[in-house]
Amino acid sequence: MNRRLLTTFAAPALAAVAAIVVSSVAVLVAGESPATAFKAMWSQIDSTESIVLIVNRAVPYYVAGVAVAIGFKMNLFNIGANGQYVLAALLAAAAGAAVDLPAPIHVAMIMGIAVVVGATWAAIPALLKAYRGVNEVISTIMLNYVATNLIAYLLAEHFRNPDQPNIRETRVLPESARLPSLNSLFEAIGFDFGPGVVLHGFLPVAIVLGIGYHVLLNRSRFGFNLRVSGENPTAARAAGISPRRMIIVTLIMSGAIAGLIGIGPLIADPQFYKYGDQFPVSYGFIGLSLALLGRNHPVGMAAAALVWATIERATQALSFVDIPQEIGIILQGSFLLSAIIAYEIVRRLSADAETRAASRETPGTRTIAEAPA
């Protein structure tokens, strides 16, 4: 058990060290001191406020990771999560602002629309692959462009807030469509974040999603079929698991979850409550990185999302000490790359170690019985 834990954490730790070395070199090349940089970064995240902000940021990242991971599990690359969630967020924002409903139903409706839109948009590459063999990487990338332009058109022509003719954004969602913050919950157990710090209310949804992902994958028949299809597609076919059906269902499911990526920001972040030019549009790509980093594991991806958000938060401090903020991207990139390499190294080392341990645990006798020939 200890050995397993060790190997689980060895790779990310190794990767973190490598990433810090690489970005230190980058800081040195930029003519600055890595010590200054990392000190500034540390002071930036060393507060309750920072932690809350990091969690808020990590939540949609995590949703994106789960959405992508479910496809990865059967070697399907849903590069189109961006298009799926942005379109979902826009339509959900427009629809949510257009109606007046009691709070829980209003929220449920918005989420429902987002899920349906995400799923529908993902159904296009799913059907193309299942019936025409079109590679989903290509079709989802193209559909991202289509989505971007479709959104620009819809926002400009149909969903623009009539009260703000100069700004391209939807109407602000009414109170009933918003998820309350979790502050009061923490205050109830005697935990005060301080003034102006808000823990967004979408966190529980992400947790439920993670648990659901785990149960689906490891306990359900569908998850079994999914894993078999990913590990050995020819055996899956021979076992009566229709590759066509699995491709369609999995990509659509990935799209459905992707539909929720933007809903956290939309209904739980006071900064938005609407869809506009400021709305984040590339969380889907972050999801790809996180699924890789977290090895498609529900907990691994949560850790990865937190690390990602932490790096982003920390590097904001670099501008105070006149160091280019792009160091943050170098840090993320080198972390991802070295993590992938480290996973492979650790896997090999631990396989060796396991065999060596087995050698110690079961010493062989070396008597050789010669049978009469």
């Binding site: 597609p233 020819t234 021979a238 062989g364 008597t367 050789i368 009469p372 020939a373």
Partner: protein, 553 residues
């Protein structure tokens, strides 16, 4: 016993290979427990032993695929350690694995040259082709360098694997169960080539469970049991297959029971005019699965004839119908069409119910059990645990799932039963399937299908790679199930198995059923000539009318 030898010290030795006291442990098992092996230069040396005895493990040690925990490897009397296969290849040692390792979508010469030209980024194509031609002429390993590997039969693939090893300059060849997939005349050809190789100074080690073929072709035999050398036979003419088997399992073999006809009246499986047209159209599920596997999204090889041509047959309750044929003559297509895994025209009935339009899952639920041809490709997921592999293929039934959720306890319980009853040698049911030896993987699959109590069994090579003892067990279980009323369609490359088990035998050639023979009277030689088309049967039309000639009215 074993004395440690300094690396690089030359000892006067008549042996091309000498392994002393090799110990190799895996979690929970000692795969090799002090094995000794001595192989003379220029000989064909056989290694025999039960499933899981440690034969493949020993050969992988010699090939540098992993390092032994203890023991010495001496090549021509000099102690060596191989950090990797390339170190072994540098010493002239090459290995053909139990499961083929060829890239289907590449040509023969590309497969042979792939990975063997370190330092040369640009291959000299013409030179490579010429060298391959020379090699294949020199050793009688005929194969066209420009053909696509996907289009080759197993015999050809085997030759490509051997050429690949020779091309890398191997003088010592290790073949892990090279004949498991071959029909008799291909086996004869293979050993003729190996004979030629040894005459020119090469040394060959092969593993086999077919004791007659071992006795007929090996110059010396080493017997391994439970990771130890239990016998070294320098002159195979001094032992019989029975003695060899006894040495392997440590006890006497069960004698095959006498057989009596158990064929009943009711037709359990009926196939009428099953046909697959040559050119596959559109994106079918075969291609989709291949695509997910990372292969090229195409399937079906263009042949001059239909892959499956108007095949009709009936299997009654309590009957075993055998299909003989050289691999690649439509057997794969036939069983996949019956299982609903390949689109085909024609009718398939199970227990009088027409299942032609049903999915594979529905057909399985109608009571068909299925042992696929290639265990690692279609039969199991190597990275999953044994109990997950027992669910595989039955995940849609209600044995292991309730309301869409996997019933782990039921699956584990069934796995324990399979392991027990089919004598699967494993430290536990939570280990990944790749840790099992080849024969034990096969036992797990056959056990999984039999324990599900099918009405109809489609079994392709059910004892492929299984040792003589376990083979007898599986045969007994198949016979027992037959007398309990199971209808079995049996495909096998092992003619003794076909003749010994079948109530009726059909021969397939180029997608058609070309003959029906009586297993009671046919000889393996006769059967062989039907399979190659050398012999035309008179009692039966070549188009394949419903094959129930000998069934009781």
């Amino acid at each position: 016993m074993t004395t440690a030898v300094e690396p690089g010290t030359a000892i006067d030795s008549a042996y091309a290979i000498e392994l002393r006291g090799i110990v190799k442990r895996f979690p929970g098992v000692v795969a090799n427990d002090g094995v000794n092996l001595r192989v003379r230069e220029g000989t064909i040396h056989a290694i025999v032993g039960e499933n899981g005895a440690g034969k493949s493990t020993l050969m992988k040690t010699l090939y540098g695929a992993h390092q032994p925990d203890e023991g010495d490897i001496l090549i021509h009397g000099t102690r060596r350690t191989f950090r990797s296969p390339s170190a072994a290849i540098d010493m002239g040692i090459g290995m053909v694995f139990q499961h083929f390792m060829l890239a289907d979508n590449f040509t023969v010469w590309e497969n042979i040259v792939l990975g063997s030209e370190p330092g040369h980024l640009r291959l000299n194509m013409r030179k490579a082709r010429r060298r391959i031609r020379e090699l294949s002429e020199q050793y009688g390993l005929e194969v066209d360098p420009d053909e696509l590997v996907a289009d080759l039969g197993v015999g050809d693939k085997q030759r490509v694997e051997i050429l690949k090893v020779l091309y890398r300059g191997a003088r010592i060849l290790i073949l892990d169960e090279p004949t498991a997939v071959l029909v008799p005349h291909e086996v004869t050809e293979l050993f003729a080539s190996l004979e030629q190789l040894t005459q020119q100074g090469a040394t060959v080690i092969f593993i086999s469970h077919k004791l007659d073929e071992v006795l007929g072709n090996a110059d010396a035999i080493t017997v391994i049991r439970a990771g130890k050398t239990v016998g070294e036979i320098d002159d195979p003419s001094t032992v019989t297959a029975g003695e060899l088997a006894e040495m392997m399992v440590g006890s006497e073999l069960p004698s095959p029971e006498t057989r009596e006809a158990t064929v009943r009246d009711d037709v359990r499986l009926e196939v009428v005019g099953l046909t697959i047209e040559s050119a596959p159209t559109g994106v079918d599920t075969v291609a989709l699965a291949a695509g997910l596997a990372g292969g090229i999204e195409s399937s079906g090889t263009p042949t001059s004839h239909r892959p499956l041509d108007d095949v009709s047959l009936r299997v009654h309750s309590g009957e075993i119908v055998g299909i003989a044929g050289v691999e690649g003559n439509g057997q794969t297509e036939l069983i996949e069409a019956i299982m609903g895994l390949r689109p085909a025209s024609g009718i398939v009935k199970v227990d009088e119910q027409d299942v032609s339009e049903l999915s594979n899952t529905a057909r399985r639920n109608a009571g068909i059990g299925y042992v696929a041809e290639d265990r690692q490709r279609d039969g199991m997921v190597l990275s999953m645990t044994l109990w997950e592999n027992v669910i595989l293929g039955h995940q849609a039934g209600d044995d292991f799932t309730h309301r869409g959720l996997i019933d782990r306890d039921a699956a584990r319980e069934r796995t324990r039963q399979v392991v027990e009853e089919f004598d699967v040698r494993t430290p536990g049911i939570d280990v990944s399937a790749f840790t099992l030896s080849g024969g034990n993987q096969q036992k797990l699959i056959v056990g999984r299908e039999m324990m599900a109590k099918p009405h109809v069994l489609i079994a392709a090579h059910p004892t492929r790679g299984v040792d003589v003892g376990a083979q007898a067990v599986i045969w007994d279980i198949l016979r027992q199930a037959r007398s309990d009323g199971l209808a079995t369609l049996l495909i096998s490359a092992d003619l003794d198995e076909l003749i010994g088990l079948s109530d009726r035998l059909l021969v397939m050639l180029r997608g058609k059923v070309v003959a029906e023979v009586d297993p009671q009277t046919v000889t393996p030689a006769e059967l062989g000539s039907y399979m190659t088309g050398a012999h035309q049967h008179d009692g039966r039309s070549a188009s394949g009318s419903p094959g129930d000639g000998e069934a009781p009215a």
